[in-house]
Amino acid sequence: MPLILVSIILGPLGNVFLGEAMKGIGPVTSARIHDLAPIASRVLASGYIWLGIACLLGFFIAHMLLLTWADYSYVQPATSLSYLSVSVLSYLLLGEMISPLRWLGVAVICLGVFLVGRTSPSTTGAPSRA
C-alpha cells in the first residue's frame, strides 16, 4: 500500500516540478534548432528540472517494484488517482486555479482509467506471439 501511495504522489509531483521549471524559462514558441539550443541549456541549468526528473525516476522505480508482486489489473486502476493528485498538487504548489469544469473532466478521466485497468492485463495468450 505505501508503494502505491508513493507512485501516486511522485509521478504527478515530477510533472509539477517540470511545469515549474518550464514556466521559469518562458514560452517556447520556436521549433528551430537555432532557437532551441540556448533554451535547452537554460532548461538543463534549472534545479526544478532535475528535481522533476528525480521524482519521475522515483515514480518509475516504485511502479516497477510494485509490479514485481502486485497484479497489473490492481496497480493500473489505483494509479488512475494520479490524475486527481496532479490537479491537487498543481493547485497547492503552483497556484493554478482549477475550474469546476476541469475538476469534472479530471474525475471522468479517473473513472475511465479505472475502467481500462479493471480489464484483463494479457490478451495475446502466448507471450511469443508478438
Partner: protein
C-alpha cells in the same frame, strides 16, 4: 494550434515509442533472473535492437514536447489531456502488437476521451 501539434507529439510519439520498446522487450523474452550480471547483459542485449533505439528516440520526442507545452500551459491542463495516450495505446497495440482489446476496455477508453474533452473545454 500550437497546443494541438504538441499534444499530437506527446500522445502519438510517446505511445509509438512505448510500443517500439514493448516490441523490443517481447523480442528478448521474459526474464527470470534478477542478478546484477544478468540485468546488465539484458540491458546490453536490448541496446542492440533497432526497435529499442527507435522507441527511445520517439519517447524523447514526446518528453521534449511535454516540456515545450509546459512552458506556456498549466500542468492541471496538460497532464489530464495527455491521458489520450490510453486511446492511442489501445489502437496502436491492436494494430502493431496484435493485442485484442475487449469491450470493457473500449468503454474505459471512451470514458477517458469524454473526460479529456471536458478538460479541453476548460482551456484558458
Amino acid at each position: 494550434m500550437r497546443e494541438v501539434v504538441l499534444f499530437f507529439l506527446i500522445v502519438v510519439a510517446g505511445t509509438a515509442g512505448e510500443l517500439c520498446v514493448s516490441r523490443a522487450m517481447k523480442g528478448i523474452g521474459e526474464i527470470h533472473n534478477f542478478r546484477p550480471k544478468s540485468i546488465l547483459s539484458f540491458v546490453l542485449q536490448s541496446l542492440r535492437l533497432p526497435w529499442m533505439w527507435l522507441g527511445i528516440a520517439l519517447m524523447s520526442l514526446g518528453f521534449f514536447s511535454l516540456l515545450a507545452i509546459l512552458s506556456f500551459q498549466e500542468v492541471s491542463f496538460v497532464v489530464p489531456v495527455s491521458a489520450l495516450s490510453y486511446a492511442a495505446g489501445a489502437f496502436g497495440a491492436k494494430a502493431f502488437l496484435g493485442e485484442r482489446i475487449n469491450r470493457n476496455r473500449w468503454v474505459g477508453i471512451a470514458v477517458v476521451c469524454i473526460g479529456v474533452t471536458i478538460v479541453w473545454w476548460s482551456r484558458k
